[in-house]
Amino acid sequence: MSLKINSVSKIFNKNTPDEHKGLDNINFSVSDGEFITIIGGNGAGKSTLFNVISGTVLCDSGNIELDGIDITYIPEYKRAAFIGRIFQDPMKGTAPNMTVGENLIIAYMRSTKKNILISPSKKDKLFIRERLSQLGLGLEDRMNTKIGLLSGGQRQAITLVMATLVKPKLLLLDEHTAALDPVSAKSVLELTNKIVLGNNITTLMITHNITSALELGNRTIMMDSGNIAVDIGGSERKNMSVQDLLDKFNKIKNKVFDDDKVLL
């Protein structure tokens, strides 16, 4: 698996006073098994980057390659067959009036789409139950509960299972713990780490928490004005503190930040 973003630009409200460069000729590539955390202020282009990768938004110029295939103009639902995505809002990732089991089956169908008039088999259901039990939240005993009755943290944990039930080529996590309380957020982050590392899933994760951006994953990108300002990995990243990262960012951008508040 490899992802290549080649000179991608996306400008909103072009030729108006509200013109805003969502992505400004951005270039970067992701290699197999990388777990990249992405930070940056509001409007830096993090979500736009995810939107062009997943196909919610088409880019103005440049192209996107996944595994050597140009996916720039492939519709969103087709890309979703190999790109898993989780949103900030836990309500967005699940169908509230369907049961936990039914939601998971829909996610599982990504791999078995050919038999659309077949009901899910016992084996499929057992597999789903098994994967759900790995969360350790006891949700496997609530397979017939309507998912709308679960808490935000539980729903986000299930969404995580749904996105990775069939191993995606790429997993996009868009501040997926931001709407949760601190305890649930921590537990979902731990689950994320476990699932991503356990299955060796290539992952991009947007976060507003610089500490967890440095703790999780093996590469960190800081975005600014639609481009990449800082891109660090390896031993440099290992020994880096939040302050070091901010200093590095300031040096490059020549802006002054007192602390990380500006970025939060």
Binding site: E76, K78, G93, A95, I106, N115, L117, S119
Partner: protein, 299 residues
């Protein structure tokens, strides 16, 4: 109520339960009120009547189902591919269908089918009595009920339910929601047309205006059913639709035994739907007011 009008109400209830199945799929499962129904119901009746008139009652029913499905496809394409608002898409198809229905009926506003062979003729000679129509209708309704129960548990059926529940999540799960909607509307309107087709042959006439208010009638049946059986799963949901539809017809038959003028029936249907849909809102407002009053009381 006489036995004849009681049996008549059951017959109508069963026929209209198919109509309500169709609306249940669009309104409750896909979460879109589909007004095509008023037109596709007549389309089914027209196709069935014109073929029965020419001695082909069974072909008439099959043609009705296919024509209804096509009407549903048109509405779905207007919504998904042409981006027209869902309600307006239904109205456009329904309005256009009026002309098409007249065309199917050979330009006549009414096709009488007296003394023509229909799909109930065989059962009449085999079973006879007063209940033979009910037997035929029960078999058809049970068959459609079984098919729908199976379908909504298949992968395509699950995708349909999820599309109505959370479209963004479906796209993220690699479901082509546009295609799913086309399939949903086709099935929904095919069943509605079947309902019209059966009604035309049962009442031995088809009229170009017989579809007006069908959407509201089907909603009323769905709502009455949901009061009696809580829609905990899809099977109970479809079962509640049959029961709701039969009860609705029994209520109408009861009203007709009084001196109440039948011209008010449509108004009553509308009121039933308005009251049922507004109750949750009114209840909540009343609870808030109650809470406010009790707090004022304390202070």
């Amino acid at each position: 109520m006489s036995l004849v009008s009681f049996i008549g109400a059951i017959e109508l209830g069963l026929v209209y339960s198919l109509l309500a199945f169709g609306s249940f799929i669009s309104f409750k499962i896909l979460n879109i009120a589909d007004l095509t129904v008023d037109g596709s119901f007549v389309l089914g009746a027209a196709a069935s009547a014109i073929l029965a008139f020419n001695g082909m009652p069974y072909a008439g029913v099959i043609a009705a189902v296919i024509a209804g499905a096509l009407a549903g496809v048109v509405t779905a394409l207007l919504q998904t591919k042409f981006g027209i608002q869902p309600i307006l898409s239904g109205i456009l198809t329904m309005t256009g269908l009026y002309s098409i229905n007249l065309m199917v009926m050979d330009g006549k506003a009414n096709i009488p089918l007296l003394n023509k062979t229909n799909i109930f003729t065989l059962a009449e000679t085999l079973i006879g009595g007063k209940t033979y129509k009910i037997v035929v209708l029960l078999i058809i309704v049970a068959f459609i009920f079984a098919v729908l129960n199976w379908f909504f548990r298949t992968q395509l059926g699950l995708s349909l339910r999820a599309t109505g529940d959370n479209e963004a999540m479906c796209k993220a799960s690699s479901i082509d929601t546009d295609t799913v909607k086309v399939v949903g509307f086709a099935i929904s309107n095919a069943i509605v047309a079947l309902s019209g087709a059966l009604l035309a042959q049962m009442q031995q006439s088809a009229d170009v205006n017989m579809g007006s208010g069908m959407v509201v009638i089907s909603f009323a049946s769905i709502i009455i059913g949901s009061v009696i059986i809580k829609n905990r799963n899809i099977t109970l949901g479809f079962l509640s639709v049959i029961i709701g539809s039969v009860i609705y017809r029994l209520i109408i038959a009861l009203i007709l035994t009084t001196k109440f003028p039948p011209s008010y029936l449509k108004l009553i249907s509308s009121l039933v739907v308005i009251i049922a849909l507004s109750i949750p809102n009114i209840k909540r407002k009343m609870e808030i007011n109650k809470l406010r009053r009790s707090i004022n009381h304390v202070s």
